[in-house]
C-alpha cells in the first residue's frame, strides 16, 4: 500500500515537472548583458544612455525572431566577450567551467577513500 502511494505521488510530481516554456525572456537577456560605460551593472539595472539603446536593439532582434544565442553572438561580435556575463563555453573557458566539478570529484574520491579504509579493518 505504501509503495502504491509513493509511486503515485512520484508520478504526479513528474507529470507536473513541465519544463518552463522556452519563450524568449527579454529581461533575462538584459540581465546577461553588461553596461559598457557603467561600473559593474547589467543593462537591465543601468539607467545609462547606452543601456537604453541596447535595450531597443535587443527588443528589435527579438521581434525579428532571433534566438537568445544569436543576440549574444551579435553583441560579442561588436563589443567583445566582455559584454556578456555568462562566459562562453569555448575551449579557452574549459578551465573555468570544469575545475569546480573536478574539485567536486576529487573531494568525493577522498571521502570514499577515507571511508573505505574503515571497511578494511
Amino acid at each position: 500500500m505504501k509503495k502504491i502511494i509513493l509511486l503515485f505521488t512520484i508520478f504526479l510530481t513528474f507529470s507536473n515537472l513541465i519544463l518552463k516554456s522556452e519563450n524568449i525572456n527579454e529581461i533575462k537577456i538584459f540581465k546577461n548583458i553588461r553596461c559598457l560605460i557603467c561600473q559593474g551593472q547589467s543593462i537591465a539595472d543601468s539607467n545609462s544612455d547606452f543601456a537604453q539603446t541596447i535595450k531597443l536593439v535587443v527588443k528589435d532582434q527579438i521581434l525579428e525572431g532571433k534566438s537568445e544565442k544569436e543576440i549574444y553572438n551579435f553583441l560579442i561580435d561588436k563589443y567583445g566577450e566582455w559584454i556578456v556575463y555568462k562566459p562562453t563555453t569555448n575551449p579557452q573557458n574549459f578551465i573555468l567551467w570544469l575545475t569546480p566539478y573536478a574539485i567536486l570529484f576529487i573531494g568525493g574520491f577522498i571521502i570514499l577513500v577515507i571511508v573505505k579504509k574503515r571497511e578494511k579493518h
Binding site: 539603446t53 561580435d77 563589443y79 567583445g80
Partner: protein, 174 residues
C-alpha cells in the same frame, strides 16, 4: 622524492597565483573596444541628411579608406576633434562618413554651419540603433575602414593629434 613533489606543488600553486595577481596589478581596468579590429563591418544602408541619396557598405569600396565618425551637436569633446576632421578632409583623399547620433537635425546642421562640414556623407541615427551595429558605445568614436570594409583602427573618444598623425600615415602609405 615524494616529499619534494609535495613541496613543489604546495608552494608552487600559491606562488603561481600570487604571481598572476602581481602581474594583474598593472593591467588597465577600464574596458574598451580598441582591440576589436580586423573584422568586416556589416551591411548597412544610410540616408543622407542634406541630399536625397543613400549609401551602402558597397559604396565604401570605391575609396581606399573611409573614416566613419560618430558625433552629436550636444557633445563637447566632438567639438575638440572637429578641426582634425577638417584637416583630414583637406589633406588626404580620405572619405569621412558622419553619423549624427541621437541628435536634432536642425542642431546638427547649425553645428556644421558653424564649424564647417568635413563629411562626404552625413546620416542620422535618431535612436542610436545604427551606431550599435557598428559597435559604438559612446561618442565621439571613429572607425577607420579600408576598401575591403575591414576595420583597421578604432578611435574611442575624440581624435587627438597623435591619432591624427596616425591616420595620415596609414592613409597616405600607398
Amino acid at each position: 622524492m615524494n616529499i619534494k613533489f609535495n613541496y613543489i606543488i604546495l608552494f608552487g600553486i600559491p606562488g603561481f597565483i600570487l604571481l598572476i595577481f602581481f602581474l594583474g596589478l598593472n593591467t588597465n581596468n577600464k574596458y574598451d573596444t580598441r582591440e576589436l579590429v580586423g573584422n568586416q563591418i556589416n551591411n548597412f544602408k544610410l540616408i543622407d541628411i542634406y541630399e536625397n541619396k543613400t549609401i551602402t557598405n558597397l559604396d565604401l569600396k570605391e575609396n581606399n579608406f573611409t573614416l566613419i565618425n560618430f558625433w552629436a551637436s550636444w557633445c563637447s569633446p566632438c567639438r575638440a576633434e572637429h578641426k582634425y576632421l577638417m584637416d583630414l578632409k583637406s589633406q588626404t583623399d580620405l572619405r569621412i562618413v558622419g553619423i549624427n547620433f541621437k541628435d536634432k537635425e536642425i542642431n546638427a546642421k547649425n553645428y556644421l554651419k558653424e564649424l564647417n562640414n568635413p563629411y562626404y556623407f552625413l546620416a542620422k541615427d535618431i535612436n542610436g540603433k545604427i551606431s550599435i551595429k557598428f559597435g559604438i558605445y559612446g561618442i565621439p568614436e571613429s572607425i577607420l575602414v579600408d576598401r575591403n570594409l575591414k576595420i583597421i583602427k578604432k578611435y574611442i573618444g575624440p581624435i587627438n593629434e597623435k591619432d591624427f598623425n596616425e591616420i595620415i600615415k596609414i592613409v597616405t602609405k600607398l
